[in-house]
């Protein structure tokens, strides 16, 4: 896939996710709102806090953007339309998503403020809770496809989507994906009311624009990941493959953005307790279940 096509896809996807997020909060579709907000941020003054760790303060938004783009580069949009076709594609998505956490910890520490630092460390606690729940369902998906190549994972779902054959893994992966891009109810790092904006609170102007853009791109990446791993990617009867991917991605993104508004924010200790005491045994049960069905159905 050419670089220009990839960039256009990213821009269009980010625009649509921004409109979906505005729709879940306000209930109305306003097509020009993302552009207006973006240009308004560009016009605002760029403040730097007193005595920041300048290296981390500057690098964090760009690292968040790079991590989201790298994860998206190994996910296929249509047969043949993939950024980089790695042999360990599914594992590379996890590796790229781990740098989201590095970026947020850098942003929290670099701003030299109590609220943002606490928000950064809280995201580390959230990572300890969700990291197993991101990797284990992907293991079960890879078991069914007998490969970690993302295009093979999509074509292995021609008979039946993974969301139907591995429902437990699907639910756990969706919850963990919402925790990765710190959407409500897992939005401790950027808790708007509680921590005065958290990690993003000390950023203004251009850097805030890059961070918000990176966060929207992260939501898009995870929606594409859920579509590719569990909802059959580009498979579907009538429409062209790329249209199927885009439709499924937008539906998943709308669900991810909308569901969290109805549930109160989860505290770190509850998230850790539920993640480790309930989530990991369920993920292991999911792997066990997938192994048994694979051995019984196709020996």
């Amino acid at each position: 896939m050419t670089v220009l096509a990839f960039a256009l896809l990213l821009a269009g996807g980010v625009y649509l996710v921004a409109m979906l997020e505005a729709w879940t909060t306000t209930g109305r579709f306003r097509p020009l709102a993302p552009f207006v907000r973006g240009f308004a941020l560009l016009g605002r003054e760029s403040l730097v806090p007193r005595q920041p760790d300048r290296l981390f303060f500057e690098i964090a938004p760009m690292l968040l953007l790079v991590a989201a783009v790298l994860a998206l580069a190994v996910l296929p949009i249509a047969p043949g339309a993939i950024g980089v076709d790695l042999a360990t594609g599914a594992l590379f998505v996890n590796a790229a998503l781990a740098y989201v956490m590095v970026a947020l910890v850098m942003a929290g520490w670099g701003a030299n403020g109590a609220y943002s630092m606490i928000a950064g460390w809280r995201f580390l606690g959230q990572l300890v809770a969700y990291s197993m729940l991101i990797v284990m369902p992907i293991t079960a998906v890879g078991m069914r496809a007998a490969s970690l190549v993302t295009t093979v994972i999509v074509t292995s779902q021609t008979t039946m989507w993974n969301a139907v054959t591995q429902p437990l893994g699907f639910v756990l992966f969706c919850l963990a994906a919402m925790a990765v891009c710190f959407l409500p109810p897992f939005d401790l790092p950027v808790a708007p009311g509680e921590l005065a904006g958290g990690v993003m609170g000390e950023y203004t102007g251009v850097r805030l624009l890059v961070m918000r853009l990176a966060r929207l791109l992260l939501v898009l990446t995870l929606a594409v990941a859920i579509t590719v791993f569990y909802l059959g990617g580009w498979l579907g009867p009538l429409l062209p493959p790329w249209l199927w991917t885009i439709t499924k991605t937008l539906l998943v993104a709308a669900a991810m953005l909308g569901v969290g508004r109805f549930v109160p924010r989860l505290r770190d200790e509850h998230l850790l307790a539920w993640g480790w005491k309930i989530g990991i045994p369920l993920a292991l049960v999911n792997i066990f279940w997938v192994g048994i069905t694979l051995l019984v159905v196709s020996p």
Binding site: D53, L86, L91, A98, M101, W109, W121
Partner: protein
């Protein structure tokens, strides 16, 4: 071949530079994240040497591990920001001497040993992944199981050491 040599050399120099930066900076979180930079450079060296699974695994694990090291540094150090210019080392000449002797010894050994024939090409990444999995599950099963058991014992040991007992 040339590209591989350039990539290995570049990432190697980056790893050594980040490694030296770990011990030269006074800010603790910068030290931990500089170690992350060294580990990322090592992971990119693995990718340059066509061990794709190991490279991706190294990149993934070291991100989490070094950030956890950063939070522990912040918890236990007296001066996490590094602004007070405290001296944090001891026995400097012994350690520099030991480092130089160790590094020089390894270097001399690696240049003087006859390594034999260099194999020109490695298997494709997909075939590597498949064969590594088969090897882990058949010939290496005992090692794999021992590693898993060791992980479990270490998890229990670390939790018991760090937990606060009710007296």
């Amino acid at each position: 071949m040339m590209l591989q040599l350039v990539a290995v050399a570049f990432f190697g120099v980056a790893a050594v530079a980040f490694g030296i930066g770990v011990f030269r900076t006074r800010s603790m979180v910068r030290s931990a994240l500089s170690l992350l930079g060294a580990m990322v450079a090592i992971g990119l060296m693995f990718l340059a040497m066509e061990a794709e699974f190991l490279g991706v695994l190294q990149l993934m694990m070291m991100a989490s591990e070094m950030t956890i090291m950063a939070i522990f540094m912040m918890m236990y150090m007296m001066d996490p920001g590094g602004l007070s210019q405290m001296e944090m080392t001891h026995q400097k000449r012994t350690s520099v001497g030991a480092g130089i002797i160790g590094g020089a010894g390894a270097l001399v050994l690696s240049f003087l040993t006859p390594w034999g024939r260099i194999v020109a090409s490695a298997p494709a990444p997909g075939a590597q992944l498949h064969d590594l999995g088969i090897e882990l599950m058949t010939r290496g099963m005992l090692i794999f199981e021992t590693a898993g058991f060791t992980i479990l014992v270490a998890m229990i040991a670390a939790t018991l050491t760090a937990i606060v007992r009710q007296k």
